[in-house]
Amino acid sequence: MEVVLSFVVGGLYAAAIYLMMRRSIVKLILGLALLGHAANLLIFTIGRLVRGAPPIMLHGESQLIGQFADPVPEALILTAIVIGFGVQAFAIVLIRRSHQTLGTDDLDKMQSTESFD
């Protein structure tokens, strides 16, 4: 399972970077979203996948022994998803507004802030 997920993560990173290098701002946003998903899935995979071993201590135990599912990666992913959701919502509104104001969705045409005159 970890091998499969590793390939999925790699595929997501590759797709994200491919989309970000396109000229359209819509694809740029999709790429950014995929990049976030790739990072989240990486945290999930790297936390090691364990089935049927909840991190619960039985009465009398003072620490977990053996294999157990690590709850920290889930907490990290949850935080990252919430943050990513907010940021992507902002980014979508930004590109919509930019498209209205600038009249183009082509990144190559957005060079007025970098020109010399």
Binding site: A16, M20, I25, L28, L32, L35, G36, A38, A39, N40, L42, I43, I46, G47, R48, D70, V72, P73, L76, T79, A80, I83, G86, V87, F90, A91, L94, I95, R97, S98, T101, L102, L107, M110, S112, T113, E114, F116, D117
Partner: protein, 501 residues
């Protein structure tokens, strides 16, 4: 004690909430914003004094013992950065009272500014690497909105570039955190510092270090990752670009210094050597970019990039003196850059343009403003007796001690080129005659109260800069002590984990 440690996060948070509650009344927002900024500065000074006298302070949020909960730590470096963030916040808030238009104020400018300051203070104070990511996102989302607030054409275009590159950096940072957690299973910086010493795969650790270098390098705008900065920082109104220039890249520099003194010191030759190379190239490419620009704020933006090179040069050399130089340089550069950007805003207010070829004659009409530009500009170029000279002096001395002659040569040449760049601005904006066709409003037409709000914050910052320049002893002592704490992380670890490393 623990309240004092979290107060630089709580105060701007509550200020922002109060400013949002006062949505209907612009005047009330302005009052809340100014008071909040002043209280924050007071709290930050008290915190700095406490850390100065009692050593590194740490507190565990929610009483979860480290390394399981989130830790807030203040050592001398982070406490000083918090003081500077609060000071720049206050200066920019006061300046904004006159320089920000009504629409932007009504759309939550003050609340956003305080959220930004909260994010910056949180990033300086946190002792947990994932929490650092969260604070980065807090300050980023506030800066995104500030960047495009007003939705002018150039702002939107700059915002797209700014948002994209910064989100990309965040994703890289998150990836690096994932791999770090997979390797050692902890996120607490002090605990990481101990665990990473025993990692058996140094090659993997070096790769991870480079990933962090990339993530923070984008935020700090080092070569070759800086192109978003000069494409976006000149688009929002002057107070916004001033606070961005003063604080945001420095958060990246702070994170680099923190991570590459506390965590990744296993292979100094590779990682810090790479940082040194990036430092030299950042200085040179930044200043060469500045030389060909003809927009006041774009010149300043490229200078901003160039001088990030000096700040990480000390980190790349990685000796106690060099780190002290980095800290000294960062502290004074925040003041210098913020005042230069604020001066550019005042010039815009007088002449209605940032274009060098349409500006001119300000020395004869506004000698006071000309002085307020000239002093930080000379400091930027490293002229004695200003603060920038001492910063460069320490760094050059450290470079010579370490026999790194190339970087010293780069630092000196870039100093000269900065002088050339600043004298271009001086002669174009202040010295030459004003172009004939120009008929923009002159100083006399601005109400004097508004003019004072433009000038007084800059004057105070410039006075502070002059104080550092004329009386560098205490500031250098501070930088040395702060560098000592960075080089020997055992105090830091002791303060966080309560046991010796």
């Amino acid at each position: 004690m623990s309240f004092l440690l979290v107060s630089p996060i709580i105060i701007p948070f509550f200020t922002a909430i109060l400013a949002l509650l006062a949505w209907e009344s612009r005047n009330l927002q302005r009052m809340i914003s100014s008071c909040g900024a002043a209280v924050l500065l007071a709290a930050a000074l008290v915190l700095f004094g406490f850390v100065w006298h009692n050593g590194i302070q740490a507190t565990q949020i929610g009483n979860w013992p480290a390394p399981f909960g989130i830790t807030i730590v203040a050592d001398l470096f982070s406490a000083a950065m918090v003081v500077l963030a609060a000071l720049m916040g206050l200066a920019v808030v006061v300046y904004s009272l006159a320089a920000i238009d009504h629409q932007r104020e009504s759309f939550g400018y003050h609340a956003l500014l305080h959220i930004l300051i909260m994010g910056v203070c949180g990033a300086f104070l946190t002792g947990d690497i994932f929490n650092l990511y969260v604070w980065f996102e807090v300050l980023l989302i506030a800066s995104f909105v500030l960047m495009q607030l007003g939705s002018e054409k150039a702002q939107l275009e700059g915002a797209i570039k700014y948002v994209t590159l910064n989100l990309m950096s965040s994703a890289l940072f998150l990836t690096a955190i994932a791999i770090l957690y997979g390797m050692v299973g902890t996120l607490n910086l002090a605990d990481l510092s101990i665990q990473l010493r025993t990692v058996s795969r140094p090659g993997m650790l070096t790769t991870l270090a480079i990933l962090f270098l990339l993530a923070f390098g984008i935020k700090a705008a080092i070569f070759p990752l800086f192109f978003w900065l000069p494409a976006s920082y000149h688009t929002p109104p002057a107070p916004i670009s001033a606070i961005f220039a003063g604080l945001l890249t420095k958060v990246g520099v702070y994170s680099l210094i923190r991570v590459f003194t506390l965590l990744f010191v296993h292979d100094v030759g590779t990682t810090h050597g790479l940082i040194l190379l990036a430092a030299g190239l950042t200085m040179l490419t930044g200043i060469l970019g500045a030389l060909v620009q003809n927009d006041f704020r774009r010149i300043l933006s490229f200078n901003l990039v160039s001088h990030v090179g000096y700040m990480i040069m000390g980190l790349g050399l990685y000796t106690p003196l060099a780190l002290a130089g980095s800290i000294f340089y960062t502290v004074q550069d925040i003041i210098v850059k913020t005042s230069l950007f604020l001066v550019s805003g005042a010039v815009y207010r007088l002449r209605g343009t940032y274009r060098l070829n349409r500006l001119g004659g300000l020395y004869s009409s506004n000698p006071g403003l000309a002085v307020l530009f000239l002093l930080p500009a000379l400091s930027l170029a490293g002229m004695p007796p200003f603060s920038g000279f001492w910063g460069k002096f320490i760094l050059v001395k450290a470079g010579l001690d370490a026999n790194s002659y190339l970087i010293v040569a780069a630092a000196l040449i870039v100093g000269l080129l900065t002088l050339y760049s600043m004298s271009t601005v001086w002669s174009e904006v202040f010295w030459k005659k004003q172009p004939e066709e120009q008929s923009e409003p002159a100083l006399e037409s601005l109400p004097s109260g508004s003019w004072l709000l433009h000038v007084v914050p800059v004057a105070i910052l410039v006075a502070l800069m002059a104080l550092i320049g004329l009386w560098p002893g205490p500031f250098f002592d501070f930088a040395q002590r702060a560098a000592e704490q960075l080089v020997n992380p055992s105090d830091y670890i002791q303060a966080v984990l309560g046991k010796s490393a």
